[in-house]
Symmetry: C2
Subunit: 553 residues, 2 copies
């Protein structure tokens, strides 16, 4: 699996999904091309999926919001007559490295969260119309939809057969959504997750596994009727016109570096480090949202978000040996504030809303990135508003204090905006500042009182916004020693430590999926009963059951 | 590690701890005998601990509550001049099986939770007085105390050096208590958990790692003064007289069976199953709490709790290959209700309070037991009040419906009491019924309206109190098939599934420790970077650092 995985695609390249747009309603069909797997060695039979299938889905969900704001309801369905979706491809999982399995699950989880949140964030409600077997990851696709309809025939069922069949968990949110979203009674959930054949018809409704069961003869009609009803009941403005998400301007360098228009990724492999530099805007903010809409995907705030998102995904999946991701910014902070202010002042404009919600998702992806994250606040930087969130998404931040010899860039400063006090919550539903200051909640109010001020090192330190301020004498050595030390630690211990320290305080369904469920799944993905030579994942399809060491831990 | 581990001990047998009782204050000294490890192959140097050390601590905490209700403040301190506690013994961990490591951590976590809760539950406040190095599991001992004092000398520090030193997590609640209880700012927590030498003096206070820093010359005096202050401020009644926790009456049978006075454990090894049968009371409830206090440890409700607790711990650590634990009861339900009612009606009596709080802990231990738990509600059973909690601690319950041929025991019935609606919360701070009915909260009120009624199968099923009711024709086959199927599943997948399904809804610090933190630690305990031949745990003390595969997942 050494191919570079490309997260950029567009409808002209899809092999596994298609969308039919019909005014307020979009019909989304999963029809996986079994011969178009991302890697060799498996066929994507029975509408099973691999990362490549999910990259298309992620692209569709993103384009639905930006290119098709007229859509109020999306109906997810199968393009295959017999089967809805058989879940993640088992042969792919059986052959994948531990690292790929874990990152595959993380990305699919993020995609599920993205369309699950589309109703609340963008008034795009997802209906899942289940005909045929809907098993494992297939049912997890459905669980993340806002409304599940099941046809009542002898072939159609929902199931989570992972435990009995594969000795792993329904780990793409399955167990957590069954308990926390669907609120299935626990002993019924236990039965449901223990039977390979799943649950059909009325029982699926009685057990809260689906929202509606419809006779097969009336199913298609009922689904479209429900879609129209939901669309008509939507409070979303009608007839919005989207913008096109044009291809990213991206160049890969020989040394692994990646250049976009406003984001640069430099890699220092000997030091296990990637540096991500965001450049400030190269021009004034658009005059108004109409002007921004005309600029479309070229508009700075949207362009940077797309570039940063792609860079993070690329580093996660294609540069697995880098220990440290360093965030830098350089540019005119006042310009950043102006570009951001246009969005904050027009949150009732669909495009401003979409760009802000996209930033929320990108920042969550940063939070979930299992590398040590560091922010360097240097002279000439522009950590303002939404960019300042990177300081608190990071595990540590270092800020330049006072003048540096020979450096005539503007003095390092952090500027807060309304973005830092509400619209960009973490998965735990708190802002990054609220999470940071769990122990001293007053500190959030103190920071809020400084919105708009350029806070230089001493002030930022006083407010607790950065980890450490360093002058010309200490800056280089201090940071070098930290980088070297950190890169020498066990990556596994760091992954576990960061996953615990980053998400302090309350848990939500989302953090429980990435925390409790994922951690247990990753443990199981290391256990011989699943992945050993005689384990269930390896033996799947061979006709021979897995052989288990029966010791319980 | 094939010795049978005995969880029963008493002060005459202690090797590692001693307590000096001084009226309202108890001084608890950790002074580990390095030659008295539970297993061969390591020495417990520097006040490091193994399971044997923790079994003594658990015994002390329990006896403090029952034998010494006069104590209002406990001062945990070291009996060693140089070191407070170096944490879990690394050579022990390096040599232990995965199963033992996981169960060791679970037991130590339960013990930490028990003394942490002693302030709220029993008005016994724990002060930790730290002199000398307090590292890793040592600081985790401190973190679970209610108040941490640190002496200000050059040798004394608090530290969580696991990540840099051992490539594992501070997994006995350390990371979670740092973020959730101490509410340490996340970037400071990151620094703290990355430095082997820890944090000393005023910085430890500034970073919220301890509550008070005192000059070394005044430390002992300040600690005793604080203890007196806390004791004087306590609302607990003074001068209470305890009862003695006499040795359990316990007999091991040849086939692995264990007999207590009111609890029987039978083992069917071929079916991977243990059956735990609780017998109802053999006599009337004591007339009042004075009478119960005279009976002491012989009083039924306390006796059963102690026996059940010991049985669970024994099965967890000494019978690791059993897949299923089946809970049965047999006896006079009305008598159970009478014995329980004495406690519920006298919650302001210290002993009634302690017995109820003990039941809360025992039931939590059942919740945390990673085996499939089944309750069988047979004719002649007495699942009343607190015993009924076992039905919802279990993953599934089966109940006999109608008469069974040749069975003339009283008809199977479940009776609810006030115990089911508040005093026995799970770790998530909800009652088991609230957790069960997350999706239909009205069901809790409906059940509450039936307190005191003997609910036979149909009524219990209607109220959703049991998983399945079965008549004479189906009972045996249905249960046999389930037992066989369940015992054939991968134990790891079941552990992960149960850990997710049992703890639906909200998370608390406690569930986050057993969920997020423990799951990540268990994952790390499987990773070669920690436990492999060249891993940090194996190489610890050899002078050679661990060699790591640097891939991040």
């Amino acid at each position: 699996m050494s191919t570079v995985i490309n997260f950029q695609t567009d409808p002209s390249k899809y092999r596994h999904w298609r969308v039919e747009y019909d005014g307020q309603v979009a019909n989304l069909f999963m029809d996986v091309d079994e011969n178009a797997g991302l890697f060799d060695g498996y066929q994507l039979k029975l509408n099973s999926y691999d990362l490549g299938v999910d990259i298309e889905l992620s692209d569709i969900v993103q384009r639905m919001r930006f290119e098709h704001p007229e859509v109020k309801v999306v109906v997810m369905q199968s393009g295959n007559d017999k089967v809805f979706c058989a879940g993640a491809n088992i042969r792919m999982l059986g052959g994948a490295t531990h690292t790929h399995k874990v990152n595959f699950c993380k990305f699919t989880n993020e995609t599920r969260n993205t369309y699950e949140a589309a109703e609340a964030d963008s008034s795009q409600k997802y209906i899942c119309a289940v005909r045929g077997a809907c098993a494992g990851g297939g049912y997890e696709l459905a669980l993340a939809c806002n409304y599940i309809m099941l046809t009542n025939d002898s072939n159609s069922s929902v199931a989570l057969p992972e435990v009995p069949l594969l000795a792993v968990l329904p780990g793409t949110g399955g167990l957590t959504r069954v308990t926390d979203k669907r609120k299935v009674r626990r002993d019924r959930a236990d039965i449901f997750c223990s039977i390979e054949e799943g649950v059909k018809g009325q029982r699926a409704k009685d057990w809260r596994l689906v929202d509606e069961v419809v006779a097969n003869s009336k199913f298609d009609e009922a689904v479209q009727e429900r879609a129209r009803e939901f669309a008509d009941a939507s409070s979303k403005a009608s007839g919005l016109t989207g913008i096109e998400l044009t291809p990213l301007n991206r160049t890969f360098g020989k040394d692994g570096s990646v250049s976009y228009t406003a984001v640069e990724v430099e890699i220092d492999r000997a030091s296990s480090r990637a540096t991500i530099t965001i450049s400030g805007p190269d021009g004034d903010a658009p005059a108004d949202m109409e002007a921004m809409q005309v600029m479309g995907a070229d508009a700075y705030m949207l362009r940077v978000a797309r570039e940063l998102d792609d860079a993070i995904m690329h580093l996660r999946l294609n540069e697995t040996e880098l220990a440290l991701l360093v965030f830098r910014t350089q540019g005119d902070a006042a310009l950043v504030q102006a570009h951001e202010a246009l969005l904050l002042d027009n949150q009732d404009h669909w495009l401003a809303n979409e760009v802000l919600k996209f930033w929320k998702r990108v920042l969550k992806r940063v939070d979930m990135t299992s590398r040590t994250l560091i922010a360097l606040v240097e002279h000439g930087s522009c950590f303002s508003g939404v960019f300042a969130e990177l300081l608190w998404a990071a595990d540590r931040s270092y800020m330049m204090e006072d003048e540096f010899e020979g450096d005539n860039r503007p003095m390092a400063a952090v500027t807060l905006s309304a973005s830092n006090f509400g619209p960009m919550p973490m998965g735990n539903d708190l802002t990054r500042l609220e999470t940071r200051f769990l122990g001293e909640p007053d500190a959030v109010a103190k920071a809020k009182a400084c919105i708009g001020e350029a806070l230089e090192a001493e002030a930022a330190d006083e407010l607790g916004l950065v980890t450490m301020i360093l002058d010309d004498i200490d800056w280089e050595d201090e940071i070098r020693v930290f980088f070297e030390e950190r890169a020498s630690f066990s990556p596994d211990a760091l992954t576990g430590m960061e996953a615990n320290l980053r998400f302090a305080g309350p848990e939500t369904m989302e953090t429980r999926i990435f925390g409790r469920l994922t951690a247990w799944q990753n443990w199981i993905f290391q256990r011989p009963n699943a992945v050993g030579e005689k384990g269930a994942l390896q033996r799947y399809g061979s006709g021979v059951r897995g052989e288990y060491n029966m010791e319980r831990v």
